[in-house]
């Protein structure tokens, strides 16, 4: 059934409140089951053998000694994973990344796997596999990889160019001629990992009839099912995937890594196989975000009007081409109303792991270049940086830098909120600096399917297929309660397995509450139609004479108006005698997601002796469209800012001359801990998305976009020298001070 998705501006009774999340007690008591918490009788332990070389030809793999070891039940190489991808380049890249074929393309690339009765035996078996490598020249730096003569990583690519994407409008050269001031600067960002605490883990079973089951930590169990079935030649309907609780994903659990291998091992061994990545494997063998290198040029008139804006950003995709340059190119100038702008996103192959999405993928790098240069321009013009941005801000009706004309958007209100925030007026001390920056992200919708079932006691089971990565079960329970007119406590939301619902796209692109929220609204409305029919039956009146108000069926019209309303619980109690179970169901392609903007303020103190930066105060202002559960909206704002702080100050993949990763662990790759962070203050703005009944926009990603630049601006203001490379680690700050 088609429903009108347009925003209606309805008043809310339950939505917007802050009840406890339904999964909270399980998580704090340890009862919640994550990827590694499931076991099966007779299960084996699966382990992966990984390349110690950055780039090498695999001459031969001898598994004979491992196969003979007592307790080993299966050994796997690429020979066990034939190419069934039917010419699909993306699927083939996934297959090759899960298990190297003729070449190992990065340090940590999987080359073989074993399944054995215990971990100790599996480890011994790995040592017995003899791989003969022929080392090849490697390249891990994004700019070096584009130079003539650099080692070529994928034969099908032009050098190591994975793709080049241009966006914009107008004439940037003509715009430069109009400019009174031109600022030009180059920037770099380090490669970072999403840093989810739970490693990749799964339990795979394949029966003799070819039917399989996979228990897995993932952001998209339907996608995992489809990809694994394709790679292994299984029928989609014969592979049931159940998602565990997820201990963080942030984009890194949108792709398969060990899962097809675990299923292939289980099929070969005819026993369940459990695989759990070590932290070192997570760093080396899963998908971090890109490193980047970029050049920015902005021209402006003396009054601050930008006449020309250009950026080219080169993204290191790892060993396989991705869409990261394209995504970054679309986001670069999205906050501004520009007559002449151009952004170029370039995908570059390097001998590093296959990059995966990381929260607003590619946007933080572009924002670092753009928003840093905006601050440099403000300084040159002797203009307040917020005023400069407001002078050029995009509004409803502006042609975006990526093409379309904007509908109602929130960048101007976020900037005004920043301008008026007490944080901006608080005094600063010695060695302290303040910075601000803006950010943009698209958000997406996608395929979604939800079921809502009402028990005879009037409580409600809502089953959705989008993974709950940040409190979505609470938000969706609120939405169901709002629609049905019942208490939040009467709704229990669970994530269904792949056999229980139609396809749901992966929880990525900040789509979970937007799309499952829409499906929940319409599933509830369908259930209400059923209940109106049941009430009409109980009263013996036409269904047309029944309306639904505040959780009750109400008889309308002069003829029936004296009938007392029937509550949802009363109707549910009678359901066995009025037609059986009461349910609502909805499937939808939830398009029309609203774009999202944020502006951040940060204060830092830099120790000039050590170069260490302490974040003193941080404020996030972001447009949520409608905050269904404000606690979890604020949690997303804070989480993105915290990850951005780590990216800005500490986090970075460090490669040696040998092309091998030198800091594959949390001791040497330092994500922020509590003592590194102040309380992150938030301000939620609500500019409704016109294409969602409740006005919802995605909120999960935009908050990681501004921090790199906001902190860069703050540090530069604190030390008086422009920092143009993240992470702004103590040695880099000291060097910048020395060079000044």
């Amino acid at each position: 059934m088609q429903h009108d998705q347009k925003y209606t501006g309805q008043d809310f009774k339950v939505v917007g409140t802050r009840p406890n999340r339904p999964d909270g007690i399980d998580k704090v008591t340890g009862r919640a089951r994550y990827g590694a918490d499931m076991s099966a009788p007779g299960q084996l332990v699966g382990l992966m053998l990984r390349s110690p070389h950055a780039h090498a030809k695999i001459v031969k793999i001898d598994t004979s000694r491992a196969e003979k070891l007592a307790g080993v039940k299966a050994v796997l190489t690429s020979a066990d994973l034939p190419d069934l991808t039917n010419g699909n380049a993306g699927d083939y890249a996934t297959l090759e990344n899960c298990m190297a074929r003729d070449r190992a393309l990065y340090d940590g690339h999987a080359v073989a796997a074993v399944a054995a009765i215990d971990k100790s035996t599996a480890k011994k078996a790995l040592k017995l596999i003899k791989v003969t490598y022929e080392k090849l020249p490697h390249v891990t730096d994004v700019d070096e990889a584009l130079k003539k003569g650099a080692p070529q990583i994928q034969p099908a690519c032009d050098g190591n160019l994975g793709g080049r994407y241009e966006f914009g409008h107008g004439d940037i050269e003509a715009g430069l001629k109009e400019a009174d001031v031109v600022i030009e600067k180059s920037f770099k960002t380090g490669q970072t990992h999403q840093g989810y605490i739970e490693p990749h883990a799964c339990l795979a079973t394949v029966g003799p009839d070819g039917s399989g089951e996979l228990w897995v930590t993932t952001q998209g169990h339907f996608t995992y099912r489809n990809v694994c079935a394709t790679l292994l030649g299984m029928d989609i309907a014969k592979l049931k995937v159940t998602s565990s609780e997820i201990g963080g994903g942030f984009g890194g659990k949108t792709h398969v890594w060990i899962e097809p291998v675990a299923l292939a091992l289980a099929r070969k061994a005819n026993r369940p196989v459990k695989m759990v990545m070590s932290r070192e494997e997570v760093f080396k063998g899963s998908g971090p975000t890109c490193a980047s290198s970029m050049d920015v040029k902005i021209g402006a008139k003396k009054d601050g009007t930008i006449t020309s804006a250009f950026i080219e950003c080169r993204y290191s995709d790892g060993a396989f081409p991705g869409i990261w340059g394209m995504l970054g190119g679309m986001t670069a100038w999205a906050c501004y109303d520009l007559k002449n702008c151009k952004s170029v996103g370039v995908d570059v192959l390097v001998n590093r792991p296959k990059v995966a999405a990381y929260r607003a993928p590619s946007a933080p790098m572009m924002a670092f270049g753009v928003e840093s240069t905006m601050d440099m321009l403000a300084k040159e013009l002797d203009m307040d940086p917020v005023q400069l941005r407001l002078k050029n801000v995009a509004r409803e009706g502006t042609q975006s830098s990526y093409g379309p004309v904007y509908g109602p958007i929130g960048i101007e209100p976020t900037l005004e909120a920043v301008r008026d925030h007490p944080h901006m007026k608080a005094p600063l001390g010695k060695n302290q600096g303040r910075g601000m920056a803006c950010g943009f992200w698209f958000n997406i919708g996608g395929q979604t399917c939800s079921d809502l079932n009402i028990g005879v006691d009037g409580t409600v089971n809502l089953t959705v297929g989008t993974i709950d990565v940040g409190g979505a079960r609470a938000s969706l329970s609120l939405i169901a309660a709002e629609e049905l007119g019942i208490s939040y406590d009467d709704v229990k939301t669970t994530i269904g397995d792949t056999n229980s619902l139609g396809h749901n796209d992966t929880t990525e692109g900040s789509r979970g509450t937007f799309s499952s929220g829409m499906a929940t609204i319409f599933a509830a409305r369908e259930a209400i139609e059923v209940m109106k029919g049941r009430a009409a039956q109980m009263w013996g009146i036409p269904v047309e004479a029944v309306s639904w108000e505040n959780g009750h069926a109400v008889a309308t019209g002069a003829e029936h108006g004296n009938l007392p309303p029937l509550s949802l619980k009363e109707i549910a109690a009678e359901s066995p005698k009025t037609g059986g179970p009461i349910a609502g169901h909805h499937e939808v392609t939830a398009d029309g997601s609203g774009v999202s903007f944020a502006s951040h303020i940060v204060d830092v103190e830099v120790d000039p002796e050590t170069g260490r930066t302490q974040v003193l105060r941080y404020t996030v202002v972001q447009d949520a469209g409608k905050a269904i559960h404000p606690d979890y909206v604020e949690g997303q704002f804070q989480g993105g800012a915290a990850q951005g702080i780590g990216w800005a100050l500490n986090e970075e993949y460090i490669y040696g001359e040998d092309g091998c990763l030198q800091n594959a662990g949390f001791l040497d790759y330092r994500i922020p801990v509590c003592s590194d962070l102040p309380f992150i203050d938030t301000k939620i703005l609500e500019i409704p998305n016109p294409n969602h009944p409740y006005g919802i926009r995605g909120v999960g990603e935009t908050s990681i976009v501004p921090p790199l630049a906001a902190i860069g601006n703050a540090v530069s203001n604190a030390v008086g020298v422009r920092l143009n490379q993240v992470p702004m680690s103590p040695p880099r700050i000291l060097k910048a001070l020395e060079d000044a």
Binding site: G168, Q194, G251, A357, P404, G509
Partner: protein, 80 residues
């Protein structure tokens, strides 16, 4: 109606930044686009998103395009 093309799609449409196509739905729009510019198939395989009056549609090809709408074609967007 005039349909804007974002940078990466222009090469497949002989470098045009904007083209004229008559269509009532996204499906009709994309079908006519492909008939006229077969090179657009490579972008269709990866995915094309359609912006209608600023709202982005990635998948629902049955979506009607209101008369007078601002229509812009983009590469398909993903996220984390």
């Amino acid at each position: 109606m005039q349909v804007g093309l974002s940078g990466p799609l222009r090469a497949a449409a002989n470098g045009e930044a904007s083209i004229n196509i008559e269509a009532e739905t996204i499906r009709e729009l994309l079908n006519h686009l492909l008939e006229r510019y077969p090179a657009m198939q490579q972008h269709m395989d990866i995915g094309i998103a359609v912006s209608i009056d600023g709202a982005i549609y990635r998948d629902n090809w049955a979506t009607r395009i209101p008369e007078g709408s601002e229509v812009f074609l983009l590469p398909r967007i993903a996220g984390g």
